[in-house]
């Protein structure tokens, strides 16, 4: 009976330990979970996956479209979030950004009318803020960009010196006015810059000469001196109307070092049927940019390996040289000799004052190096 009770107590103890361990592991899954706030399009269009993250419309002058932005609070606290429309502005490097609330709107920002300018959301809640986009009758042909911004409403902080930061999330609003749409890119340059840590920045530049944005596939291929591909860098980027986009693709310091050649090319859909998130299905246009040769010293590990290989090659070369020299000497100075009865390789070596191994090697003799009477071999001349 006592034995049974002890077993039950033991079992319960096991359960306790299992609970503790499982709790610890399960708890770690909830450890550091960040939740921000922001927005996303409330009504994405089927067939255009880009509309899950930005607003895309083709509208005629005078048209109005109903839209909605889903404002989300995933943070742990109740937040009042400002929602407003602004014009777009090219950020440095030709990237997309929205202007500030304080700036005058005269493009898409002015076409947007939101039903609410702010929403207050409890944690883990959301609300759709409806808005309309009304294109003015004098809007020009081509793509116009603006931005719907979500930004936390905060009391103005007391200046403490330094830079005070606030945060916001922008959703691009791309409105295309039909007409003669020009989709044309031009390569504006390509540089390779060495950084202080020995790595490189591959910096291609592409200019959009058209009147709509173009999603371009920018690729930099870096090859070894002998033509083998070392690495391919790049990605898909929108190049906004009238902008020159430039990117910094990082190239880690090459392990082996040496001369490398980086070449830049860009591919895009130049067909007028293409649009933001819409492919025409026709062949892509490819532009080849310049190539840049550059030198990189090897990494310390690469250098160590290279030195070892170099020393091995030098030593191998020396052995080869020695072997050839010996062969030449044998060819010039050794003569044919007929083996007599009772002679073996050792007696010959002693008689001609040379290593028996050298005689074996010069005559390609195999173990056990037995010599037959009347056998012809080469031996050093006695002269």
């Amino acid at each position: 009976m006592q034995n049974s009770n002890a077993k039950i107590i033991n079992r319960l103890a096991n359960v306790g330990v299992a609970v503790l361990i499982a709790t610890l592991f399960a708890g770690s899954a909830f450890a550091v979970e960040y939740g921000g706030f922001g927005g996303r399009p409330a009504y994405p269009q089927a067939g255009n996956p880009r509309t899950e993250s930005i607003f895309v419309h083709t509208l005629n002058p005078g048209d109005t479209v109903e839209e909605g932005v889903l404002v989300v609070n995933n943070s742990a606290g109740r937040k009042t979030i400002l929602v407003y429309g602004v014009d777009s502005t090219p950020s440095s490097g030709g990237a997309f950004a929205g202007e500030q609330l304080s700036q005058t709107k005269d493009d898409v920002g002015a076409w947007i009318t939101l039903k609410k300018s702010e929403v207050t959301l409890d944690p883990a809640t959301n609300e759709i803020v409806p808005f309309t986009i009304t294109v003015p009758k004098n809007a020009g042909v081509g793509e116009h960009n603006g931005c719907i911004i979500t930004q936390e409403k905060l009391a103005k902080a007391e200046a403490k010196g330094g830079i005070s930061l606030s945060f916001r999330t922008g959703l691009r609003v791309a409105i295309t006015i039909p007409g003669t749409l020009i989709r044309k890119l031009e390569i504006a340059g390509f540089d390779v810059t060495r950084k202080d840590d020995g790595s490189f920045l591959l910096q291609p530049k592409v200019k959009n000469l058209g009147n709509v944005s173009i999603d371009a596939d920018a690729q930099v291929v870096t090859k070894y001196f002998f033509g083998l591909t070392h690495i391919t860098s790049g990605g898909q980027y929108p190049i906004l109307r009238g902008d020159t986009s430039e990117w910094n693709f990082e190239l880690k310091k090459p392990f082996w070092g040496g001369w490398y050649r980086s070449s830049f090319a860009v591919e895009y859909d130049a067909n007028p049927e293409a649009g933001v998130g819409v492919k025409s299905g026709n062949a892509l246009t490819r532009l080849e940019g310049p190539s840049v040769w550059f030198w990189s010293s090897p990494t310390p590990a690469g250098l160590a390996i290279e030195i070892i290989v170099l020393l091995a090659l030098i030593f191998g070369g020396f052995l080869l040289w020695l072997s050839r020299k010996r062969k030449n000497w044998i060819r010039k100075n050794w003569v044919e000799y007929e083996i007599k009865s009772g002679e073996d390789i050792k007696t010959l070596a002693e008689r001609f004052n040379v290593s028996w191994k050298l005689i074996a090697k010069a005559n390609k003799l195999q173990p056990p190096y037995a010599l037959k009477e009347s056998q012809q071999i080469k031996i050093p001349s006695l002269k």
Partner: protein, 227 residues
């Protein structure tokens, strides 16, 4: 009887432990759960993830009222440059953090003043100098340069690497032509990810004979925009 209990305990050991673990973890983590009666109906909402940016500490906890100071300098008769680092590790970790739960699209992380006409200013007395005046190579009114090209980018809390994430180049603010400076961009190939950015170098040219002040400040906005 004891044999039966032993068997039951043996079978229920793991299931019971897991049940209690989930219950306890939920309790500790502040999660809400419902014990259902036979007539209850369950609904569950998974709130949509959104692209967002913030300044967080080393544990990915939002830093309240983040600011960063430029290195102190003294009054000078000539134009001088002060430097600072945006997203630092000292005295405590304050890293720029971007979360992108979307499955499509690119984004840009950019820094701009809350108004291009803003200036570095003290409250009392009201002293100012500019952050985006290119005149005199930045020495006439003052000009700020942001250089993210040498910054440290890294994946955040989750394993996805930094493929497709590029750093911006060094640029100086120039009112009307360069109001926003790109810190980092994504080509959209690594979706559902989070990234950090540290050590973005900032330098500010201060005009000659700028009056001394202890609390020159300026408001800036860190924006992440899907494109």
């Amino acid at each position: 009887m004891h044999k039966l209990m032993r068997k039951l305990l043996g079978k229920l050991n793991i299931a019971f432990a897991l049940f209690l673990a989930v219950l306890m973890t939920g309790g500790l983590g502040g999660a809400t759960y419902v014990l259902a009666s036979p007539t209850s109906s369950f609904t569950q909402t998974i709130n949509a993830g959104v692209l967002s940016t913030d300044i967080v500490d080393g544990s990915y906890v939002t830093v309240a009222s983040p600011t960063f100071a430029m290195n102190a300098t003294s009054f000078s008769w000539s134009c001088q440059t002060v430097t600072g680092s945006f997203g630092s590790t000292t005295p405590s970790t304050q890293q720029i953090y971007v979360v992108d739960p979307s499955v499509t699209g690119n984004w840009t992380l950019a820094l701009a003043a809350s108004n291009p006409t803003d200036v570095w200013a003290t409250s009392t007395p009201y002293l100012t100098f500019d952050f985006n005046d290119p005149a005199g190579d930045g020495c006439t009114g003052g000009q700020m340069t942001v250089d993210p090209s040498g910054a440290i980018k890294a994946q955040g809390q989750y394993e996805h690497g930094v493929s497709g994430i590029s750093l911006g180049s060094s640029f100086a603010f120039n009112q009307g032509t360069k109001d926003s400076i790109t810190l980092m961009t994504s080509d959209g190939t690594t979706f559902i990810g989070d990234w950090t950015l540290k050590n973005v170098n900032i330098s500010q040219k201060i005009p000659a004979e700028q009056a001394a002040g202890s609390n020159y400040s300026i408001n800036m906005v860190l924006s992440v925009s899907s494109s």
